[in-house]
Amino acid sequence: MAESATGEKLNYLNHERGLWSWLTTIDHKRIGLMYLFAMTIFFFVAGILALCMRLELFHPGPDIMTAETYNVFFTLHGTIMIFLFIVPGIPATMGNFLIPLMIGAKDVAFPRLNLLSYYLYLIGAVLALVALVKPVGPEFFSNFLTWLGLTGPVDTGWTFYAPYSLESGTAVVWMTFAAFILGFSSILTGLNFIVTIHKLRAPGMTWFRLPVFIWASYATAIIQTLATPVVGISLLLIILERVMGIGIFNPKLGGDPVLFEHFFWFYSHPVVYIMVLPAFGIVGEIIPVFSRKPLFGYKMVCYASLAIAFVGFFIWAHHMFVAGISDKSAIYFSIATFGVAIPTAIKVFNWVSTMYKGSIRLETPMLYAMSFVFIFLIAGTTGVYLATLATDVFYHDTYFVVAHFHYTIQGGAVIGLIAALHFWYPKITGKMYNDKVARSAWFLVFVGFNLTFLPQFVLGMQGMPRRYFDYLPMFEPMHQLSTIGAFINGAGYSLALLNLFYCAFFGKERAPSNPFESHSLEWQTQSPPIHENFEETPVVTDWPYSYGVPVEGGGHH
């Protein structure tokens, strides 16, 4: 085996050194890690904004900020979390790292394009930060900033609904342009993954030998490429409308604001599957490994990913039941939305059936995966309340929606990502995380998360509207529970990520190449993998889930 100058085994982390080798890398593994670093920063920034809001809501009335600041905070929390953290999310980090390894390829199909996606992401992030600038300083300077459209942080909410986004005096043009660039980055990533999965599978890696994470990533990539252009054009139209005064969405200029909502949700409903489908894939990888049983109903899990992606394109107007759409289309969108519950439930049944009578090891990744299943069950069933026309009229724009959304996205996508980071940690870093710390962090995350958002379901049912800075005294106890939960939750994430970062840089314990005894291809190469992933192109002869099945030469795996 090749060795570096210092006598270490060569791997993708040490075969080249220095910042420049990272910034110019076209190695999918390094690009995945660079996304992870940037996204972690944004996750904490947006998380701190959330904690500030929770603190403000501890008592009714203004405590630590004004109502205007609160509007800016929830807009930034949403925009940063959505566009800079969870949309690139699992695909950009774990997808980049794992897809070529799992299919036995040396890299993605277009490595340079992959690096371009990363820089587009950074440019989008910088534009979003610039959009926070307020016109300050000497008069000529503040006039200049105003002329540039930098008129203060955006207060429209992450949805940029017209007509307010057309009238708001804040830097909407900058923020929407940032989102446009980030969307472009997302499209190129998705395109790259589709081509990679089609063209670069190792010999013998047929479609039905692919790990379910690959199927989930494939379905996600389809949404990324097909839905994102539509939000791109609607954001572009918002910009044109503000800059040139043309009339598309503004009723004052002959436009129709409901059309914006259609365009926006045509993307932004499917986008929740960009966030959560890869997490389904991750849970599908983790549960068989720690149950030592073959994944139950493998083909159905694969098809279910595609079905979710497909149905997801035809249900967007369930966000608009009270926006004045016709009764007939509301009935259609309601029924079609129930349809998503079928493939989603198939997945849940398959995970639970995989665990049934397995020999379960409650390692940290498995704890997160099981929490995911538990939380997602609540997320899915509360979604049905919101898809039902009669109940949605009441729940719409209340904390019920906030709680449902965070159960799917934080409890789903974020916990899925944290599960993945622990599971593939030995592969990525070649080290082991501190298990005791990891478990305590999991406990804080799980308890904190549920304590934050279960009371919000109750608040919603009592009629507490979302995005409100102030509230009636009757809501105080639930808000206080939620705030306490949020801080526990935040402590849990901080502890989990600190543990991972600390052990990666200062940990002494070297990980074996396959500590969890997975059968998947990425574990069959050394940890961390070499620059080209495999010494020789692997030849695949079986699917990756034959756990607990007698193999040639006797014994069970």
Partner: protein, 216 residues
């Protein structure tokens, strides 16, 4: 492509897959990208459909302000340009780099001509006060459905013109490779995907032209 029979050779930097895979990957990638472009314009087409239904009479009337002769001329220019792009691909498959250069130069020239005609049309609109930001446009008498029609007109044709410019840059890059004799029967991927992109730009205009100019 039917003429591709023997082994394909790849560009020097493709180290992680063989040449045939690289060729297939590039083509699939470009087709997917064209799909995203169709959806990008699809949003505009959907908006146009909605407002044409909402302002049926006004849209018909507003459309009369567009000169179908200039629009038709531009359609012809783009169709001719697409023909030469296709000839360039064929030339690359027959190892004729000089012919690639010639035909791509004509294609790019057509793109330039298209932009010049578009500029003439835009400045005409400006003089008639049908351009966003002019005094007439901002006056309260300006019909709001006109703001919608011309708003969509400028958004659609402007975005399309941007694609023409990008297409010219892409083909210019391919042309520079052809001048270095990079292409052969075994390797002509950039010519083919570049031409594919150009055809899409052409096709979008073929939809825009009747929708905007001939709607009356």
């Amino acid at each position: 492509m039917n003429s591709q029979t023997g082994e394909l050779a790849g560009p020097p930097h493709v180290h992680h897959m063989d040449a045939r895979t690289a060729y297939g990957a590039a083509k699939l990638g470009m087709w997917l990208f064209l799909g995203t472009e169709v959806l990008l314009f699809g949003g505009l087409f959907a908006a146009f459909a909605v407002y044409r239904w909402k302002y049926l009479g006004e849209f018909t009337h507003a459309s009369k302000h567009l000169d179908w002769r200039l629009g038709g001329l531009n359609t012809a220019v783009l169709l001719v340009s697409s023909f030469f792009a296709a000839v360039a691909v064929d030339a690359a498959q027959h190892n004729d780099n000089k012919k690639v250069v010639r035909n791509l130069a004509i294609t790019i020239g057509c793109g330039l001509l298209f932009l010049v005609i578009k500029y003439i049309e835009y400045s005409g609109k400006y003089h008639h006060g049908l351009f966003p930001g002019t005094a007439e446009w901002n006056s309260p008498e300006f019909n709001e459905s006109y703001k919608c029609f011309f708003g969509l007109y400028f958004a659609m044709t402007g975005l399309h013109a941007l694609h023409v410019i990008v297409g010219m840059i892409v083909l210019g890059w391919v042309l520079s490779l052809a001048r270095k004799n990079r292409f052969s029967r075994k390797y002509y991927t950039p010519v083919e995907v570049g031409a594919l992109y150009w055809h899409l730009v052409d096709i979008i205009w073929i939809y825009l032209f009747p929708l905007l100019y001939l709607v009356a």
